[in-house]
């Protein structure tokens, strides 16, 4: 995907090798971006491009979710609040100002502002509590939001709100949506990458590992958590606004959809929580599968059952996500090959040292932390 940014740090393989690996990642990311850029030129079937736009929107939302929940460990099941807020903001503003065509895309900035503004008080309340209580509070926010838009008149009650329908050429109708969604995904991924590399990202992950110890070491937990929450909400709000314009309508139970929360979380888990490429990979696999199931079984109830089964499968079979699992396999493979090569040549003492170095390389990897995993595994009960 975007260069497998979660791949393990290059093990001690000489500077040349390290350079090669370092060049690999941006090259991979660039190649992937080029593929995404030319995709609508290669595939013009509206069914395909519709799924593609949907996938990109969800990928952006999943990356945004991961910026907060993946890095900080605070699992939010209420990001649909920001998604829905973005959708309704664009809807209400477009109706009030009679915006049409490309102008509606500018309203995404307003959606970002509203979602961001909303996230500050919500974050201040929710981020005072941890773990399960946090999860449940975010769910409570979600239900409050859904009930509120159902009861207000400005949001159109239960019949919702309609988006302006642009009069673009039907043959390339989806293209503007596609490229705006792609831009959003690129922005979100860049933000995720920058945050992960920064001191701020380090503070977030320190909070995830042990908030009290992080606070003891001088991390001001609340501002750090809140900032990540707001950044995440801003991108989710834009994704919601774009989704609304693309779908053409927002009604309370779809703009504020519990399935949205579940999907985004499963995407991030599938690819690898707290990694950069993970949520994108998850969205690329799960969203088309979801759309395909819905198309295949127009009887939506069957698709719901299959979707639930797919989620269970992901959770049970790939609990750590594709990217961390693959990264670990690669590291283990390299370590084994290195030790085999060492066995042939230098004496045993060096082999042991090399093996130890290999292990150290694994443990020093910032994420995922296999030592932590093992520890948690031992502590975990039934």
């Amino acid at each position: 995907m975007t260069g497998g940014t979660a791949a393990p740090r290059p093990p001690a393989g000489g500077p040349a090798r390290r350079l090669a690996l370092a060049a690999w990642r941006p090259a991979g990311a660039l190649a992937f971006l080029v593929i995404l850029l030319v995709f609508p030129l290669a595939f013009q079937n509206p069914t395909v491009t519709t799924i593609a736009v949907d996938t990109l929107i969800f990928a952006a939302a999943a990356v945004a979710w991961n910026i907060f929940s993946g890095y900080s460990g605070y699992i939010s099941l209420g990001h649909a609040v920001f998604f829905g807020a973005g959708a309704y903001t664009v809807g209400i503003a477009a109706r009030a100002w009679h915006t049409t065509g490309d102008g509606v895309f500018v309203l995404l900035l307003l959606a970002a502002a509203v979602a961001g503004g909303l996230s500050v008080p919500l974050g201040l309340i929710a981020l005072r509590v941890r773990r399960h209580t946090f999860v449940v509070i975010t769910i409570a926010f979600f239900f409050i939001a859904q009930l509120t838009v159902t009861n207000l008149t400005v949001t159109g009650g239960s019949s919702g709100i309609l988006a302006p329908s642009p009069n673009w050429d039907p043959a390339t109708f989806n293209n503007p949506f596609y490229y705006v969604a792609l831009a959003l995904l690129v922005i979100a991924t860049a933000a995720s990458w920058l945050i992960r590399r920064s001191r701020f990202g380090l503070q977030l992950r320190a909070i995830r590992d042990d908030e009290d110890r992080a606070a003891g070491l001088g991390v001001r937990a609340m501002p750090v958590k809140l900032t990540a929450f707001v950044i995440s909400a801003v991108v989710t709000g834009m994704a919601g606004g774009l989704w609304f314009y693309f779908i053409g309508q927002a009604i309370p139970q779809f703009a504020f959809d519990p399935l949205f929360d579940l999907s985004v979380v499963v995407m991030a888990f599938f690819g690898g929580l707290g990694t950069i490429a993970g949520p994108i990979l998850g969205a690329l696999v799960i969203e088309p599968a979801q759309q395909w199931l819905t198309l295949q079984y127009t009887n939506e109830y069957l698709s719901e059952i299959l979707l639930g089964a797919l989620f269970l499968l992901v959770i049970l079979a790939l609990p750590r996500g594709v990217i961390p699992t693959a990264a670990e396999l690669i590291t283990r493979f390299r370590a084994r090959r290195r030790s085999r090569r060492a066995e042939a040549g230098p004496p045993a003492a060096v082999t042991a040292a090399a093996a130890r170095a290999g292990q150290a390389g694994t443990a020093a990897r910032p994420d995922p932390d296999p030592a932590g995993q093992a520890r948690a595994g031992r502590e975990a009960g039934p």
Binding site: I125, T133, N151, I305, A380
Partner: protein
Amino acid sequence: MGRQIYEAIVDGILGGGIYALMAVGLTLIFGVLDIINIAQGILVVLGAYLSYVLSVHLHIDLFVGLLITVPVMFVIGVAIQWLFMRPLRGRERATMSLLAAYAVALIIEGILYRVFGPNFVVLKASYITSSVHLFGFYLSYIYLYGFALAVACVAALYLLLYRTRFGRSVRATMQDQTAARLIGIDVNRVAALTFGIGVAVTAIGGMMFGATSGGFNPNSGYDLISRLLAIIILGGLGSIGGALAAAVFMTTAESLVDIWSPDWAVVVFYAALVLVLVIRPSGLFGKRLARAQ
């Protein structure tokens, strides 16, 4: 007005008994397994549909039918825990189990939709429609019976937890799983049985919900789970007494607001939750939250 308020309070307390029963199951599961069983809402609906099938197709009385539905729901609960919760390991276990429960809820919801369709159904019985004149109010018999049953069940759960050997091992597991294991408690067995018991009460809750809610369909699970979550958080996660008090408090507050504005009555539920948490993050009766994760 005054009369309406009295009525609302009586309604709230009687309705609260039913929610209390469902919430106790949820908070018990949390206390022992550290899992928020988000499928509890749809399991209540499943319990309601089981009662519906028994009463419509086999003409079994709703209360007698519980003798069948309670064991069935118990087995379903044990199966869910054994198949989907027990295998989960690792640092994100708590979150994963929540997501697994979510996925299970989705599957059950889809199955219910396929079998029963989206139409609302109601449970019918003579004691649902007839009412008794008591202290100047007309009360439907079902509320009285249901409340009595809920109180009896909560009392039975209390006895089970505080007066039996099994209950002691459950409470030991709630306090410290590792220590419980060290003194020879089969934690896996306790976990499976607790999940089963927590789900078994949804059979009773479901029957009562189906009889008093004025109609339900497979989508009713969302509304239920959100209320139940609000109740157990407000009461303090893992606190059984807290769940009881919060259930009665919440339903009473809701039926009071319902006098003025039915549309916003449900919002009160969550607004109360947020308000309480701003003042007291661990809920009304919760222990201080564990500091280390």
